[in-house]
């Protein structure tokens, strides 16, 4: 059963032209004119329209966790705010079923000077929920938020973690049919994030809760979402299964970065050689976007040399969550001919990587003679997501953690000489 229909929704804002758009060097007259202009006339004369959302259409099956990704200003928050009825759409229609609870911003609808208990009731009221429902759910709220000892403490004395726990706990306990979460989990500690994500999944499965989850955390998105929507400049750009959309999104982000002016990729080194492409290839040589954890995979680096013969050493840095997982380089320098294309392959064994996102930085060292040394470097040449065999299993977080997850051998036996207690 579909629980949400978004039909051709658009949102237009009138943006007053920013002062930054006035010429940087302005004459005294310009400055005087600007200072004397009444704000109202300035607003009317200079306003320009901005379409935060353009003809967005999609529908959502009940019980789906829908991830919404996109760069800043792509319309993610606007979409959520329209569904939450905070702002009205300019065009289009949204139909839905049941109670909508939104977590659009941390602390929205919380009063710092009131106690946690008062805030729970107040938040319920703001969401249009009778006091009796809040009372019935009070125990669940307090237990999940782990704030039993601080119920009568004003919120201003809460740590940001406690604050977040309370906000999330209140929201999910309001018996929503549709939960709107905007980047909210970015604040909490990892353990709590994990619990929230599991709770969201559990509610989606058991009570048919539909969740719209906006996040920049691609790892979380690909792990908990059933489906991902990629918004680009206010338009639904892609809509599909998380692995594909996330990988494509990350590659696009990389492309944009690489084509941006000022990018110091291989430009200065282009005289000596050029990195043509970096791809992930399966054992049979086919290019793949996201590899399964259970199979070996190659990182393939294609490059070409320029002028003269040289010796090269290729290396990759595997990164995850801003951490260098490892660097691996060819063990020895190998000679290459001039003006030739080469292909370097490095095999990453199965059952080593985690079910998470990785990026690869590539560097190629070119040596001519004994002294001349040049490096071709491409940062974030590749981004990919590793998925597990069974997709995403619910208790992965408890049993497997870390930027790598080698499958290691375990044994358990009785120790004959152990001291028995």
């Amino acid at each position: 059963m579909k629980s949400l229909f978004v039909e051709g929704v658009s949102k237009r804002y009138w943006i007053p032209r920013a002062d930054a758009e006035t010429p940087r060097v302005e004459s005294r007259l310009d400055r005087m004119r600007r200072a004397l202009a009444l704000p109202l006339t300035r607003e009317i004369l200079n306003a320009r329209e901005l379409w935060a959302l353009r003809d967005a259409s999609f529908d959502v099956e009940q019980g789906t966790v829908l991830g919404i990704i996109g760069s800043n200003g792509a319309g993610k928050s606007t979409l959520l705010k329209i569904i939450a009825k905070v702002i009205a759409p300019t065009a289009g229609r949204i139909r839905g079923r049941g109670r909508v609870v939104s977590l659009l911003e941390l602390g929205a609808g919380f009063d710092d000077e009131a106690t946690a208990l008062e805030n729970i009731y107040m938040n319920a009221a703001i969401n249009g929920i009778p006091r009796a429902v809040a009372q019935r759910r009070l125990d669940d709220i307090v237990t999940f938020a782990e704030i039993r000892d601080h119920l009568n403490t004003p919120l201003q004395f809460f740590s940001s973690g406690m604050y977040l726990r309370l906000a999330f706990s209140v929201a999910i306990n309001m018996e929503p049919s549709l939960l709107l979460a905007d980047e909210i989990l970015a604040v909490g500690d990892l353990a709590f994030q994990e619990r929230c994500l599991q709770k969201v999944r559990e509610l989606a499965r058991e009570t048919g809760l539909t969740v719209l989850f906006v996040s920049h955390d691609m790892e979380a998105v690909s792990r908990i979402c059933d489906r991902v929507l990629w918004l680009k400049e206010g338009v639904v750009h892609r809509d599909g299964i998380p692995e594909e959309v996330v990988t494509e999104y990350q590659n696009a982000a990389w492309d944009m970065l690489a084509s941006a002016p000022g990018y110091k990729g291989s430009s200065h080194a282009a005289k000596y050689g050029e990195i043509l492409d970096v791809k992930l290839v399966a054992m049979d040589g086919r290019e793949i976007g996201s590899p399964p954890r259970s199979e070996d995979v190659h990182v393939r680096i294609r490059f070409r040399t320029r002028r003269a013969k040289a010796r090269v050493r290729c290396a990759i840095d595997l990164m995850s969550k801003g951490v260098l997982v490892f660097r691996s380089a060819q063990p020895e320098l190998l000679p290459v001919a001039a003006e030739t294309a080469y292909e370097a392959l490095v095999r990453i064994p199965a059952n080593l990587l985690s079910e998470t996102n990785y990026t690869v930085n590539v560097s190629i060292m070119l040596l001519r003679g004994e002294e001349e040394e040049h490096a071709l470097v491409v940062n974030k040449a590749l981004a990919f997501l590793v998925y597990g065999e069974e997709g995403v299993s619910a208790d992965d977080g408890r049993h497997r953690k870390g930027v790598v997850n080698p499958t290691l051998e375990w044994t358990l036996q009785t120790e004959p000489d152990a001291v028995r207690v």
């Binding site: 804002y13 009138w14 109202l40 329209i82 569904i83 939450a84 009825k85 905070v86 702002i87 009205a88 759409p89 300019t90 065009a91 289009g92 229609r93 949204i94 139909r95 839905g96 079923r97 049941g98 109670r99 909508v100 939104s102 659009l104 911003e105 929205a108 609808g109 009063d111 000077e113 107040m122 319920a124 009221a125 703001i126 969401n127 249009g128 929920i129 009778p130 006091r131 009796a132 429902v133 019935r136 018996e175 049919s177």
Partner: protein, 292 residues
């Protein structure tokens, strides 16, 4: 818990969001389903007036008593028996004038700022926005209550001293109650316009600060309506607050003349402002949120 299941099933229904706003009538029904929120906004508007102060709620009393005491001394030497308006001690006359005026003026001020003050909430959570202006009458009502207590005490004190009940213990008091309701409605009606405009242009509050003292002088609070010469009575008739203030005095003290024609005009104006205000608020609230 019948009320609970009822509210839940009402919520479990289908909903539609469209650019066109719902009718004002549907909005009022929605207000009822959010009734839990009224008390919250009302109480927070009042408690914010003395939060974190050492004197606490005493500030509420001081805020009303201060200006009243000062005005009474300046304009009428409060205990001077020679100063009487229609056989009523001036202080009593003045208190009766202030009751509905303070209710109106304070309410209008708080209503005007209600949407802007809660912009953090308004831009992040949905609830019927109409709750904000309506519940912002709370401080005005508290001030009115304080004035009424002072008024009652004064009546008793004057009775002890003069042996006269200045208050008319007749059904006329119902007219006073009506005047209170009318000034409340008028404050909301005007506030529906000003709160939306204030959300966009902060000029409104500054302008209001400038306008209300003049409005105060154009309203027969510190002088009786009968003092105004016939030539300018029509001007008073255009001010809906004038007959409201006058009606309260007439109902409570039983002195003066009941301004029948201005009262009817006033009521028509109040109703008219209320309906246009509802229309305007309903139409513009969405656009206002974009600009907060």
């Amino acid at each position: 818990m019948p009320s609970v299941s009822e509210a839940v099933t009402a919520d479990a229904g289908l909903w539609v969001i469209e650019p066109r706003q719902h009718s004002a009538f549907a909005r009022i029904r929605e207000l009822w389903s959010y009734r839990y929120l009224w008390w919250y906004f009302a109480s927070i508007t009042v408690t914010q007036l003395y939060r974190r102060s050492a004197l606490g709620w005493l500030w509420l009393v001081l805020r009303v008593a201060g200006p009243i005491g000062l005005n009474a001394i300046v304009f009428g030497d409060m205990l001077d028996q020679a100063q009487k308006v229609d056989r009523v001690p001036y202080f009593l006359f003045f208190l009766c004038g202030m009751a509905t005026w303070v209710l109106f003026e304070r309410s209008l001020l708080f209503i005007t700022r209600s949407v802007e003050r809660n912009r953090r909430l308004v831009t992040r959570v949905y609830f019927p926005r109409l709750i904000l202006p309506v519940s912002a009458v709370a401080p005005g009502l508290v001030y009115l209550a304080i004035i009424l207590v002072v008024l009652a005490a004064t009546i008793v004190v004057f009775h002890q001293r003069d042996g006269v009940w200045y208050v008319s213990w007749t059904p006329r008091l119902l007219v006073s109650a009506g005047a209170i309701v009318a000034s409340l409605l008028f404050a909301i009606a005007v506030g529906l316009w000003t709160s939306v405009l204030q959300a966009r242009y902060r000029d409104v509050r500054y302008a209001l600060r400038y306008v209300t003292p003049f409005w105060f002088l154009l309203t027969p609070v510190i002088y009786p309506l009968s003092e105004i010469s016939e030539r300018y009575r029509w001007l008073v008739a255009l001010n809906p607050m004038a007959p409201i203030v006058e009606a309260f005095k007439w109902g409570t003290l039983g002195e003066g003349i009941f301004p029948t024609v201005p009262a009817v005009i006033s009521l028509v104006l109040v109703v008219l402002t209320m309906f246009t205000g509802m229309w305007f608020f309903n139409r513009e609230e969405a656009a206002s949120v974009d600009k907060l």
